[in-house]
Amino acid sequence: MSSNPSMVKKWLDPEAKPFLEFRGVTKSFDGIPAVRDVNLAIYQNELFCLLGGSGSGKTTLLRILAGFESPTEGSVWIDGVDITNVPAYERPVNMMFQSYALFPHMSVFDNVAYGLKRDGLPKSEIAVRVSELLELVRLSAFANRKPDQLSGGQRQRVALARALAKRPKVLLLDEPLGALDKNLREDTQLELIKIQESLGMTFIVVTHDQEEAMTLATRIGVMDEGYLVQTDEPHTIYEYPNSAYVADFIGDINLFECVVTDNEAGELSLYASQLDTAIELDGPVTGAVNQTLWYAVRPEKMRLTRDPSDAVNALKGVVHEIAYLGDFSVYWVDLDCGPRVRVSRPNISRLDDFAEAWGEEVWITWDGSAGVVLSQ
């Protein structure tokens, strides 16, 4: 689901021409930078997610693309054309607003028709296209309603239809599913992917919800304090985060500070001072002797056991707390050497061995390939 199988991964092809580009874009408000030196290339038919906490600059970046803010430095390119100084009403992009921004004095039909009227299309053609769009978002019966007579989910679909009406080259979606409840949200996510694939548009979605980004995106750009810190496919972002910030922001993670003790022919030896133990690694990692690094392991890649005899990495601790979440349980274990770690454990059996292990002494084990080493 996370990537469209029919789509070639153009970002892996060095020959591919990006469809949309930010080149060195910086935006400051009264001298305070909101977006800092962002370089980003997005390819045709991508469903790209900008992910970040509040104040990370993701919405500002989207507004720069829509033309509501002009960058302090840098330029924005679409399809080989520099659009940095093109006013919002002449850009080939349309936006679906977080608040939906439906015109309260117009009917659903007139809201969707607004952009087409601005293009001066004949009335008959507008009528045809609006009814097609309303059918696409399953709102044909509501054409004559006013926005305040619709539910949240219906308003959201009107906003989508209105943004799609002009068949823009790029559709921008600002927290498109933020106001919907969980079930509706999951349905709408799948619907969005379907619409994006059938129309062959490039979608750029801003969200603070990592699950949403993982579900929707072909690629994710993680933003923090105005910087674009990592741009990769969802799987890569999760399994190979490039910094402690990304590792911590996407999913849960256990982070340990380590020191490189030996570097023999590219084989690093790591010593985790917090854990008072050496860590066994599989695979190549670069680093200089005495360099401080972060070693990160996701909770689902750690195991609970009472017999650590054949484990590569094993630490002893006491179960502090268990959170039963249905499909899996999260265990907080206080290690004998100090730190508290999270271990998640799928509830495969109804009579789990560790279901009532509060206060029990357990071992935590993980493979050499389970962790990632991060330099920042």
């Binding site: 002449e90 608040s99 309260p104 607004y114």
Partner: protein, 269 residues
């Protein structure tokens, strides 16, 4: 002093009574048969009939309504322009000055406004030859000037509340700034525009002081006629006239208030 839970309602009742009781008396006595204003002589509508046969009053009323309608319309156009500038202007220091200047006529004593406008009109007449003499034109200009201040304040408040993303959405869909203003901004603030126009209209209708300064021969507004009549002694037909004016102003007030409420309820969704 201990506050009973009746203290404030009682105080409010006394205040409102003081305000509205005389008006009630006036309305009742407008239906008085007697020619003596203070003696009740039975119910009659004769003063209303007499009122509609008095050409001086009818002319003055027509003139006042015309002046009010025209000056309120001019005030609305100028006031909306001023409010847009105040809310959307990016240059903060200038905006503060402008806001102060736009609101000043609200607190300026009418005598000063009237006198300064009179001096202005005399000077303009002397140098430009327009407006020649004092009359309907000068009253309209004067009323538009102070009506604009009220329009600015009302429209400004509504514009400030307005969701800017509506305008951004329109622009995003290809509307140029003028189209955005006409198709999205104006309809969104329409109730406030109605309320502001009605307020400017009623203010013009009952202004005596400024009109007295800038009017000329043959351009007596209704309040001026009433005032001059009262000086010769109160006649019962003035009561009838006052009752009609209360009715008009009251209706305008109710419609204006209702529109304001609508504009508050009609927040963007």
């Amino acid at each position: 002093m201990k506050l009973s839970r009746y203290t404030f309602p009682v105080m409010a009742s006394v205040g409102f009574g003081f305000l509205y009781f005389p008006i009630l008396i006036l309305v009742i006595y407008s239906f008085n048969e007697s020619k003596l204003v203070t003696v009740w002589g039975g119910f009659s509508a004769r003063w209303y009939l007499e009122l509609f046969q008095d050409p001086q009053i009818l002319d003055a009323a027509t003139l006042s309504l015309q002046i009010a309608a025209v000056s309120a319309t001019i005030a609305l156009i100028l006031g909306v322009a001023a409010a847009m500038t105040l809310v959307r202007f990016r240059w903060f220091r200038a905006r503060t000055w402008l806001a102060g200047m736009a609101a000043a006529p609200l607190v300026m004593p009418e005598v000063i406004t009237g006198l300064s406008l009179l001096l202005l009109f005399v000077a303009l007449d002397h140098w430009l030859g327009w407006p020649s003499g004092r009359g309907v034109t000068t009253i309209i200009l004067a009323h538009a000037t102070f009506g604009m201040a009220f329009v600015t304040v009302i429209v400004q408040a509504r514009l400030r509340d307005m969701d800017r993303t509506l305008e951004e959405a329109a622009m995003d869909l290809g509307a140029r700034p003028m189209t955005v203003f006409l198709t999205v901004t104006l309809p969104t603030i329409a109730p406030a525009l109605v309320a502001a126009w009605l307020l400017a209209f009623t203010l013009s209708l009952d202004d005596l002081v400024i009109a007295s300064f800038v009017s000329g021969p043959g351009s007596s507004t209704l309040p001026m006629v009433v005032f001059s009549k009262v000086r010769l002694g109160i006649s019962p037909d003035i009561n009838a006239l006052a009752t009609l004016m209360i009715l008009i102003v009251g209706l305008g007030g109710v419609v204006g208030f209702w529109q304001m409420r609508r504009s508050i309820n009609r927040r963007p969704v």
